[in-house]
């Protein structure tokens, strides 16, 4: 279970949110909404442990994540704004490296199957430089489909996704929503930001709206 306890996030000397507490249990999906600049990305980075909150802490299974960085990392799959792809490497190489870096065994076949599933199997041997923005996003998201037989996301219990639907076409959006639903349905957790209405059905969906203006008044 992921818990946020009285988080306060700041950027420069601006307070983005204060006293923010919530928890995400297995089989729950948290949808973070808010205007541009409301602090969604900062909150996600705090949840990952990339950013330190000004106050409060993030807990995983009751323990602060700062004290158990490696164990937490093994449970976490984070896909940020940046695709973390190398232009010079092929889609397949990029995915294999991404999987290995996340500490999972990643065979070439598994990587290829994941690319196929995201509909970029044809581009597997092309350098990422040659791919379009949407195709790159698909290659990056293929990490979610790695080892899809065993729950997807290569066994990560918690998915943290920053604008996963950006640059995707409608077919890919539908596929991704389905993938997330399957993950959450199988007892996984997901935290994501998006400006689109989320059509993930049949799972417990929480929603937090970050509103900088309201915070500034209070």
């Amino acid at each position: 279970m992921l818990e946020a306890y009285r988080l306060e996030g700041t950027r420069g000397d601006r307070t983005l949110f204060r006293g923010l507490s919530f928890s995400v249990a297995p089989a729950q999906l948290l949808h973070l909404a808010g205007a541009n600049g409301a602090g969604k990305t900062s909150l996600l980075r705090i949840l990952c442990g990339l950013l330190l909150p000004a106050h409060g802490e993030v807990r995983w299974g009751g323990q602060p994540i700062a004290a158990m960085r490696e164990e937490y990392a093994a449970q976490l799959l984070y896909i940020g704004h940046a695709n973390a792809l190398k232009d010079e490497l092929t889609a397949l190489e990029n995915l294999e490296i991404g999987g290995t870096l996340a500490g999972r065994r990643c065979t070439r076949d598994a990587a290829f199957a994941a690319l196929e599933e995201l509909g970029v199997g044809r581009c597997a041997q092309l350098p990422v430089r040659a791919l379009s923005q949407g195709q790159r996003r698909r290659v990056s998201l293929a990490r979610l489909a790695l080892g899809a037989g065993g729950g997807g996301g290569n066994g990560a219990a918690l998915w943290i996704l920053d604008e996963p639907f950006a640059a995707l076409d409608t077919a890919a959006v539908a596929y991704l929503e389905n993938l997330i639903a399957r993950h959450v349905d199988a007892g996984g957790m997901a935290v994501l930001t998006t400006h689109q209405p989320l059509a993930v059905t049949a799972v417990t969906m929480l929603r937090i709206e970050l509103d900088f203006e309201m915070d500034a008044r209070s």
Binding site: A73, A82, K86, A102
Partner: protein, 221 residues
């Protein structure tokens, strides 16, 4: 494949696909060293005497020039975040990156150095000592440089700042590295100098990856 081997392999592969970067460092090294005879004149004794210092200073500058590439690309495309979130300890991944960096930016300098030594009419045993001192010394340059590169990540004008941060820390390596070659040229044993470089290698191998990992986390914050 372990994440460590994966990073080394990936960085070597990237360097291979961007060969010009590697060549730039090497050509810079050769040109800087070759400029000195043109500047100070072709007197053989003088050239022989200044060869160790010139080659070492050039190696220093060349390896510093390559530092910007160490983390910048990974920082820009988000791979560095993924490394920081890997279950593998970050300092191990840092060692992997520095190792790969040394293989493409440090090792070529060591291999081309004998040719430059001949250009300065250095005696054979001095050339051998120079190579040994470079083999021990250039990894220290990469390790110390990694801390500077990590600290200045994402800053504007980071290149100059790296130089200011890192060059003073390079001084001991320069003193002992060039000192070893000078000593052997004077018929003395270079052992003491080489042992001291070895000691700095051991020390920086312990401290620098740890400091680099901390600096990277700060830069990502």
């Amino acid at each position: 494949m372990s994440p460590f081997a994966c990073i080394v392999r990936r960085d070597l592969l990237l360097a291979f696909r961007r060969r010009s970067d590697v060549l730039n460092t090497l050509v810079f090294f050769v040109i800087v060293v070759s400029l000195f005879p043109l500047g100070v004149g072709p007197e053989p004794n003088q050239l022989r005497a200044m060869a160790p210092g010139v080659i070492w200073v050039a190696a220093l500058l060349a390896s510093m020039l390559a530092l910007n590439r160490l983390f910048a690309a990974d920082f820009a495309d988000g791979t560095l975040e993924q490394m920081a979130l890997s279950p593998e300890p970050l300092f191990l991944l840092v060692i992997a990156k520095v190792l790969a960096h040394w293989l493409v930016a440090g090792l070529p300098l060591v291999l081309i150095a004998p040719v430059l030594g001949i250009q300065f009419d250095m005696p054979l045993d001095a050339i051998v000592v120079m190579m040994v001192s470079l083999v021990l010394g250039t990894p220290v340059l990469s390790l110390i440089g990694a801390v500077g590169a990590a600290l200045t990540l994402g800053l504007r004008g980071g290149g100059v700042l790296v130089a200011l941060l890192v060059l003073p820390l390079y001084v001991p390596v320069l003193v002992f590295g060039a000192g070893a070659v000078v000593a052997s040229g004077a018929g003395l044993s270079a052992q003491a100098h080489l042992l001291l470089i070895g000691a700095s290698l051991a020390l920086s191998l312990v401290l620098s990856p740890w400091a680099t990992a901390m600096a990277l986390r700060i830069s990502l914050d």
